[in-house]
Structures are given as C-alpha cells and as structure tokens.
Symmetry: C2
Subunit: 348 residues, 2 copies
Amino acid sequence: MSDIGKNASKNRRWVLASYPEGLPMLDNWRLETSPVPEPGPGEILVRTSFLSVDPYMRGRIAPGKNYTQGVGLGELMVGGGVGEVVASRHPAWKEGDIAEAMNFGWQEWVVLRPGQSGVLAVNRIDPALAPIQSSLSWLGMPGMAAYFGLIEVGRPKPGDTVVVSAASGAVGQIVGQLARLAGARTVAVAGGPDKLSWCRELGYDATVDYKAETDLEAAMRRACSDGVDVFFDNTAGPIHDAVMPNLAVGARIVICGRIALADQFGKPDIGPRFLSQFIVSRPSMHGFVVFDWWHRRDEALKRLAALHRAGKLRFKEDVIDGIERVPEAFIRLFRGENFGKQLVRVRV
Amino acid sequence: MSDIGKNASKNRRWVLASYPEGLPMLDNWRLETSPVPEPGPGEILVRTSFLSVDPYMRGRIAPGKNYTQGVGLGELMVGGGVGEVVASRHPAWKEGDIAEAMNFGWQEWVVLRPGQSGVLAVNRIDPALAPIQSSLSWLGMPGMAAYFGLIEVGRPKPGDTVVVSAASGAVGQIVGQLARLAGARTVAVAGGPDKLSWCRELGYDATVDYKAETDLEAAMRRACSDGVDVFFDNTAGPIHDAVMPNLAVGARIVICGRIALADQFGKPDIGPRFLSQFIVSRPSMHGFVVFDWWHRRDEALKRLAALHRAGKLRFKEDVIDGIERVPEAFIRLFRGENFGKQLVRVRV
C-alpha cells in the first residue's frame, strides 16, 4: 500500500457538526483531515472524482425516525460518489477501475468492500458509456427514481397529462422525457425563465413558472385543462397545493420529494388537506423511495442507457469544484439555485 | 290504474328548500304533497317501505362540483329505497314484487323504469333471503362499499393491522368483519362504550373510543404497535390525523368518507398534511366511490349473502319510523347519533 502516499497523504472529510433546524447551514458540517485509509482484505481504496448531493440526504441528518439510519454527530456525512480505484485487495477489481457507490461519504478517499448487494453495492462504471459522473445522475439513482417512480407508480398512459414539479432537477428532467416517450402530454413546473426554457428544449409541452405566478392554482388549471392524470411531485408545498385541486378522475400522485418544505423539516406541514378531492376524483397518492426498487437497478439503467444512445434522453448537470464546497452545493438544492443535477467535482 | 287510489291518494315527498351551509338542518328540506304518480308504459309504481339515508347524500346537496349531478332547489331529494310494486306496466314485474333502487327519492310513492343499468337499475329483492331493508344496507350499497373498498383497494393480507373509522356504521361494520375473515387484526374506532361494545361483539380485536381519548394519536399507537397496514377511513378529521402518523411501511389508505368534516363542507380542510409520512412509510392513499364498482354488484352481494348464510356476517340497523322524519334521520348521521345503519321505515 506504500504507493498511496504518492498521490496524497491526507483525506479531507466532512463530518456532521450539528443537526440542522429547518434549512441546512454551512456550519452544520465540519471539515476534518484524517490519514488516507488503507484497504483490508477484499477491499478497494478509491479516490473520489465526483460526489453527489441529493435532497434525500436532508432526511439522514435529522435525529428523528426516517426510512433508514441517520448520521450521528461527529460522523462522516453520507453521500454517493464515483472515483478511481487506487489500490485493490479484491480479486475482481484493479487499479484504474472506476467505482460508484452510495456510501462514499463526503470525503476525498474511501475504502469500499465490493460484493455486497443492494444499496451497499459497489458498481463498476464503464467510462466509454458516458462521463463517469452520469452514474450519479441520469444513469444512477436519480435516473432510477424517475424511471420507477414514473413508470411503475405513476403509470402514464398515452394521452395523459403528466405534471412534474422541480421539472428541471435531477429527477424531473428524466421524468418529463420518459412521460413524453410514454405518449403523455407533459407540463413542467419550475422557477425562472432559464429553467423553463430548458424544460421546453427537453420536450415538455407546457411550462409553469411557480415563482412568477400569483395564482398558481389557476395557472395549473390553464396548463391542464383536462385535469392532471399523473402528478410527479418532487417538492410538496405550494406547487402540490396548486396541482391537487386540478386532478382528473383516477389520477396518480407520486410523492418523490418535499424539498419545498425543507425549511420546516420535522415540523407538521399545516395547510389544506385534500380528502374531499380524494372522494371527488378518486386519485391514488403513493409515497415513493427509490431504494425500494434497487433490486431492479440493472433494468432501469439498461433502458436509460439505450434511450440515451438513441438520442432520446438529454440531461443537464450543475458542477461545483472542490471538496471544500460540498455543503454549499448541498444547500443550493434547497434554495433552488442548482440548474440540473448538482454535483461536486472533487478531483479534476 | 284506478286501484291505486284504494291505498292512498297523496304522495308526500321531501324537496330541497335550501343548500345547507356546513351541517344540514331540518329546514333545508320542505315536505310537499303531490298526487300519487301513474306509471307509464314499461314502468312500475312502487310504494316505499324503507328509505336509506347515507353520508354521500351530503355531496348531492351542494351547489359545487361533485362526482355526480346534484339536487336543485325545489327538486325531490335523492336517496335509495325499497318497496312493494303496487302497479306494473312492465312485463317482467308484477304487483307484490319487491323493488330496490338508488333513485327512489325521499317520497312515499315512486314510479320506476326497470331495464336500465348501473346505478339506475331497479333490482328485484327476494324477501326470503333477508329482510327487504337489507338491500339498503349490508346486502346493498354500504355492503358493496365495504367489500370493494376493503378487498380491492385496501387489499388486506393475513397478519395486517386494519383500522376502521366509524367502525360501527353501515360500512364500517362490514369492513371489520371482512378484514377479520381475511386474516387481519382489526381495530375499531368509534364513539362511546355502546358502539365499541358492539364492535367487540362483531369480532374487532381492539377498539379505540375517539370521544374518550385525550391523545388520540397515542391511543392509536398503543392499539397498533406494529403500525397500521390498512386504514379504511369513513370520517377524515381528527381520527384521520391520529392514524396517519402510525402507518406501517407500504400501508394502504382507503378514503371512503369524510363525515367528520361535514360541518365545514365546501371549505378547505386545514391541518397537518402527511407528505413526509408518505416518503418515510411509502403508503398509498386511494379515493374510493362505490359507484365506480357498480358493474360488479352481483359478485359482492352474492359473496356477502353467502357469508351471512354461513353465520359469518352480522349487522345492526337503526330504524326510525315515518316519512316525516327522513331529514332528522339524515342529520343523525352527522352527529354520530345513529348506531348501525340508519334507515327510515316509511310504511309499517
């Protein structure tokens, strides 16, 4: 392992310093320096190229119950990443391979143990297929969220009207394009002319600027004159409240994210409930977590890759440079400042 | 038709006098008297024996949009009923037959046109099978609501915990018994010791008195220590809010009724939303209207009748006498004063 020192002797890593109250702040994390770890038998040492920041991580830094275990104070912050194998003590991996995993953590170096299944799997990335950071975006977890959330839960039919909130985000971009391929009319909800313009380039049939509309419910009604058949909701909050009164009979609502409510994380979200709407329009509303679908990861990625090869899937990334800026990149998500999938390039 | 006059020359009928604001009041209807109608070719004249009052009727006397057409001011109030054929001009019907239909209206005499399908159908009732008013309760629309809502939408599995609100009501009684037959553990939520005692007699495994509990959410948590797998909700309101934080992963929520909110009908229902809960527990919430399942009426009634014959289905009725008292009977529903399925006996 003595050759590791040639590249770096230190591992910079972000640990959780405090639980955020509401929106995360920069001082919720602390940058620490530790020695570069050494891989044990069956392990590989990977130098991080890109880290992913995703809204789900907000749930991991709350002391309360969530769908999986959270990060303790002083512990390494969770997060997916992709990087190059620098040393291998696993027979199937060699130096120079590209490894992607959900459990990189916010750090420059990580020791991974290949051979585990599910969300703990270490995946080998083919750099000839797409830029390696795609494995953190359209050809990875966000792509899977779009694929399974839309196809299996939202179940769009030709002629359906599909509304997507955070439509230019990591998941929303893919949802809109898949819904269009499924024969649906697609309506993007996003903030600001640049994002809406990108949504139109992607093929969304209509766009609604939630920041510009004074009566968002009326704007949704105008954009969806036959009602909303599928609502893929990445935000909750005011967009949710504007879409719900516009449901068509039998609508499907996919609750994928709640980023608009991040400032009141852990507190009850008070506002109009829609139980009358549920009886009038008989929709079904489904909670969705992509990790429930991880056993079908290969299927989703194969199909997304094929669509990409055929020129039917486009994608925008928003890349920030430097391990120092991971918390900043994460916080951008909650302010809607990212334009496309937010990534951090750790090593150029 | 001259023999009709032997029995009665007048038809007393309730017309809508005003739209209720919130809870219905007695003066929202007006009792009028008209001549007994005469059946035309292909029609039958029926003398009402029992009328049904059901929560769904609240939606029919609102000026706003609902899932079907409402009652206009001055028009006959809608409602299902059952009665005896007094004169027939339809080849398949004869005097003395028992006819049940959704469109009796609140009146003593009705002319019906057999041969229509769906909710407009006139159904012949076999008085040897069960008391004829059963066709308005467990062997009719409420029974169908319980059957399809639970079996097709709630989809209980053996070992599931099934929570039913308004558990001693027309629909709830059947839901609890069907869920138990499906191998589920059943939890009744109702108001007051008499109703809970009846629920236990019906076989509910646990009961929660929503009127007696000061912390209903904690009471639900105690009663459902492994979480709620199926929530069959007839009430919305505080019971809904107490159950939702206690969902098990993958729970199904059937929104069948919202009677607890009848006092604020047409107004937004403001309170905690549960979108975080949706992401944590990935439930699905389904709006349910029994009329969507009407094409499978025969299947449900055949199965319910078989369970009843086998002694596996019990049912409590709450009968009030007199056409004069139909509005009163209806209003009892919204006060939780009925104990079992509320019926009005029009002719003893």
